[in-house]
């Protein structure tokens, strides 16, 4: 167990190093990094000062050392636009992103799990077909377009919901739906295949042999076991949701980290862009690590493997 965790930790550290190297590499190698790191409209003297400050005339590995030591200290630089440390800015926006992701996740599970069960219980029936069309649409419709059309319909024509901003529950409905839509399709397919697998298992056969009514078999015996992989996927998807919400947050002017990234790009606020990308990667690496360790704790087959 300990060996497994140590190896897994090692992989994560390598991933984090490669992550910082990737970001560092693209910033330094493609053109003049001073132009990115200096505020838009800066003078020649400012440029020189930035070169001095970041040691851009020094060898690359020295520069990388500085870069990493700053990151480890939690120093992601200063935002040009907001004039505050980027990390502070990021952390102040994070709760909004988490809230939106949680709402979108709840929605996607509310839609995905029941429809997945219905599809699995009558395979190739009309419910299954509707489900297939639904999941295909989920994959093929850009989430931001779903958002735009919803604004057009519910805000402009009907005037029921506010088109942008945050604060009340009604502000959250449309962004949560636009974001959750794609994931609802994924959760539906997962529920369906997981249910199908469980329905063919020995203990479900036994439950049927006992003479339990089909409804009881499905709800009491099959559903609970089928739920495990779905919830695992949902857990990982929650992190992905936080990080893919850029376009949806932009459409609805939702003040989360996605919107922060967009502002960073729009205002040419490079420290913000760099920090958001780095922290997104860190978040995914850390959550993957936690999920793997949790798996190993639950399932001895994994930790004893190899």
């Amino acid at each position: 167990m300990r060996r497994y965790i140590i190896r897994r930790l090692g992989y994560s550290v390598i991933s984090l190093v490669l992550l910082s190297l990737t970001i560092f590499f693209f910033v330094r190698v493609t053109g003049d990094p001073a132009v990115l790191l200096v505020e838009p409209g800066a003078s020649k003297a400012d440029l020189d000062q930035i070169r001095q400050q970041f040691g851009l005339d020094r060898p690359l590995f020295v520069q990388y050392g500085h870069f990493v030591s700053a990151l480890v200290r939690g120093d992601f630089g200063q935002s040009f636009y907001y004039r505050t440390p980027v990390l502070e800015l990021y952390l102040s926006r994070l709760p909004n992103s988490l809230m939106l992701a949680a709402a979108a996740m709840a929605l996607s599970l509310l839609i995905g799990i029941p429809s997945g069960i219905l599809a699995a219980v009558n395979v190739n029936g009309w419910w299954d077909r509707i489900g297939k069309i639904f999941s295909l649409l989920g994959l093929s419709l850009p989430s931001f377009w779903v958002g735009l059309v919803m604004i057009l319909f519910f805000s402009v024509y009907l005037g029921w919901l506010p088109s942008s901003g945050a604060g009340t529950i009604s502000h959250m409905i449309m962004p949560a739906f636009a974001l959750g839509w794609f994931f609802a399709a994924a959760h539906m397919r997962m529920t369906r295949s997981s249910m199908l697998e469980v329905m063919g298992s020995e203990y479900v056969k036994l439950a049927r042999l006992k003479g339990l009514p089909e409804r009881m078999v499905i709800t009491k015996h099959a559903f609970k076991n089928a739920l495990i992989p779905v919830l695992t996927l949902a857990g990982i998807n929650l992190v992905i949701m936080v990080n893919v919400a850029v376009v949806v947050e932009t459409v609805f002017a939702w003040p989360g980290i996605g919107r922060l990234l967009y502002e960073g790009v729009a205002f040419r606020d490079f420290p913000v862009v760099q920090a958001t990308v780095l922290l997104s990667g860190v978040m995914v690496v850390v959550v993957n690590l936690l999920v793997d360790i949790l798996y190993a704790v639950i399932d001895p087959r994994i930790r004893l493997e190899r």
Partner: protein, 295 residues
Amino acid sequence: MAINTRTAPFTAPGRLALLRVSGFPIIPAAILVGIAFVAIFAEFIAPNNPEIGTLGDRFRPPFWQAGGSDAHLLGTDHLGRDVLSRLIFGARVSMIVGITAVLIAGVTGTVLGIISGYLGGWVDQAIMRLTDTWLALPALTFAIFLAAVVGPSELNIIVILGLVYWTRYARVIRGEVLSLKEREFVRLAIVAGCSKRTIMIKHILPNVINSAIVLATLMIGVVIISEASLSFLGVGVPPPKPAWGLMLADGKKGMMAGYWWLTVLPGCCIMLMVLSANLLGDWLRVKLDPQLRQL
């Protein structure tokens, strides 16, 4: 025709016959061919110049609504540009970006996947650690970052999307190579004294090409949506070039006034193209590659 095939049951069916029996998705394929045709001959089909408009003709609705005219069948945008013409030229942008980016991602990912899977050892470790790390970066976020670094242009977007998506190929292809490696024909090739390069090119590559093609069709939809998202955010194809994502961003300006056609129409085009590509990819997956069925 029908009698002919029935009286000669033992002849192998030709390629076209194969397509016919197995539920070939004819409508999605026709839509894709149609979009490709429109994209190639955009100059001859589009009624107006897509990049130049008349400011006096701003926000004209489609022809069937009050105020619309035959001059602009699908209306005009905030600069008075013809929406239909922009949609037609937009198909070209989506096609070019979608196909070339997938090609770059596919070739890079397949080559690295084969090398990683076949050679193993530290090469495998190095490539796979990089793949894992890049997969950890959310694709769109990574693409936005790269676009912010190198600046937006059509060529940059293609390279960026290629860079962002090759990792998915590398993962899948490497997995296949690992199982191919243990097969008889590869062992025989080693015994026969083939060099590693020959084995990878002559024996491994032909066996993973089906998976690569299936992945490519499934990936085109993802890449097109990514391009539209980047353009929508202002880091994709730069204006005034007509890209569907850019049209959606422009359309937002007229949305509150109820100019629905600027928002609805470009999105419908994206949906039509991505849906068709996905349906075709789904069919190909079942057809060409039983191993990928549960993907």
